[in-house]
């Protein structure tokens, strides 16, 4: 659920836990599940956008130079981007290393 549900009283839940704010899933931090994070080597990247297309969590967005940047707030560390990158520009790094 979108709100910071961990701090909400049962009295303040919407009827049937309905989410009344459209698009609020953008606030849901899914990035704290991950154990590894992807980093793109821009010297290798060909700006093809495959990482952006395949990412299931909308982590990637195109910057002004045309490269695709990660928003780690959403990244679960699934490494699909690493697998799909045709030039092996993306590598996973362990969290905490």
């Amino acid at each position: 659920m979108a709100k910071e549900t961990g701090s909400i009283s049962w009295k303040d839940l919407e009827l049937g836990c309905t989410i009344t704010e459209p698009g609020s899933s953008a606030k849901l931090k899914t990035g704290d599940w991950r154990s590894a994070y992807p980093v793109t080597d821009v010297d290798v990247c060909i700006k093809c956008g495959q990482c952006y297309i395949f990412c299931p969590d909308m982590v990637y967005s195109r910057n002004e130079e045309g490269y695709y940047e990660q928003d780690y707030y959403f990244c679960k560390g699934c490494a699909i981007c690493v697998r799909e990158c045709p030039v092996d520009a993306i590598k996973m790094f362990q969290e905490g290393d």
Partner: protein
């Protein structure tokens, strides 16, 4: 004007549901079903009722369609029984947790195996904890009245919970009875158009039925539990207004000749009428026996029950399902829980009767009361006993 009719209870029930002007009726019309949805299908097909009759492929889909239609803001009704009820029970939990005021008539029947389509409370108790409001009818008139009451309470913005009216399969559902058919204008007065609190609306988008992780699931269940408990004043208020409009009065717990009773039978559903006859016979024989009938099953009316039996020395609680190898049947569990930790409580025995369509006769009730009186004079306490069984 209300008119007196002689009609099969299922047919009369669907006439009343039609008067309630339902919008959507999703149902799976195969055995075990009743004439309730069959007649509603006829009413829709013949143009007498302007509603969507959705013929789904299973009861699981029937309740799923109820959920969708109710979420879209429709007044929704369906009906089921035993195996079909078991199949839809997964979605029954979802309907109540999402606080959708669906109304359902359940013609109570046994669960297989052995395959048995006859009346008992196996299906009712299987879905005891789905979080719906539940009432239990004793006769045809009550089915009609409780159905109208169900729509009124379920859709009340202080409640917003689905509602089941239980009626004994065959004993009520397929019986032709004399009933007062309410006047459609009076029904309109009692039942204003449904005003959803939240609904699926492209102009005002919401998401219903989201994930609730461990950080909120407990709060969600607490909110549901409190909502169910808080529905009781509205249930009572709606019965009071029903009495003013239609002249018939209902209570969460009904009593019969209990004022000076030493021994009280506790029943639920249509066997209560036979139990009244049994009480009359035992009273004539000089036995101080009374009867308490539970009408409101969820939220369970513990206070009213305690008030109704407070002077009794012994209670015979009748269950119509076996809680296989458990402490006692589900009705008796509630009764015993209501008494636990109190200074004084009566001697309580639990009888399992009327399984899979077996008749519960006046003699069976007399046997219960006599056994109870005998065990009061030094018998062994017992958990439960399946009565009227061949050894």
């Amino acid at each position: 004007m209300a008119r007196r009719v002689g009609m099969e209870v299922s047919i009369a029930a669907s006439e009343v549901v039609a008067m309630a002007d339902v919008d959507v009726i999703p149902a799976y019309p195969i055995t075990p079903q009743t004439h309730i949805v069959e007649h509603l299908a006829e009413l829709v097909a013949s143009g007498h009722l302007d509603a969507e009759f959705v013929t789904v492929e299973s009861e699981h889909s029937a309740m799923s369609t109820c959920v969708g239609a109710s979420a879209a803001g429709a007044r929704v009704f369906t009906s089921t029984s035993s195996q079909g009820y078991a199949l839809m029970s997964e979605i029954c939990y979802i309907a109540s947790s999402m606080r959708l005021p669906i109304v359902m008539a359940v013609a109570n029947r046994a669960l297989s195996a052995p395959i048995n389509i006859w009346n008992d409370h196996g299906d009712l108790m299987m879905s005891r904890d789905t979080g719906w409001i539940q009432t239990v009818a004793e006769n045809g008139q009550e089915v009609l009245d409780l159905l109208l009451h169900a729509f009124r309470v379920a859709e009340d913005q202080r409640v917003m919970l689905p509602f089941i009216v239980n009626l004994d399969g065959f004993i009520l559902s397929h019986m032709i009875e004399p009933m007062m058919m309410p006047d459609p204008d009076e029904v309109k007065k009692y039942l204003p158009p449904y005003q959803p609190k939240l609904r699926l609306d492209p102009q005002n988008p919401v998401s219903m039925g989201p994930v609730g992780m461990p950080d909120v699931y407990t709060e969600a269940k607490k909110a549901h539990d409190e909502a169910l408990k808080a529905s009781k004043p509205v249930i009572l208020e709606a019965w009071k207004e029903f009495a003013e409009l239609f002249g018939r009065t209902y209570h969460p717990v009904e009593t019969y000749r209990t004022e000076d009773a030493d021994t009280i039978l506790i029943t639920m559903g249509s066997i209560s009428e036979t139990a009244m006859t049994a009480v009359d016979a035992m009273r004539q024989a000089g036995k101080k026996v009374g009867l308490v009938r539970i009408r409101l099953w969820r939220p369970f009316p513990a206070e009213e029950l305690l008030a109704a039996v407070k002077h009794a020395r012994a209670l015979a609680v009748v269950d119509r399902v076996v809680a296989l190898s458990g402490g006692c049947g589900p009705v008796c569990c509630e009764v015993k829980a209501a008494f636990y930790d109190r200074k004084f409580y009566p001697y309580i025995q639990n009888y399992i009767a009327g399984l899979g369509g077996r008749d519960v006769t006046v003699q069976v009730f007399e046997e219960m009361a006599d056994q109870l009186t005998a065990s009061l004079q030094g018998g062994e306490p017992m958990g439960y006993e399946i009565i009227n069984v061949r050894e």
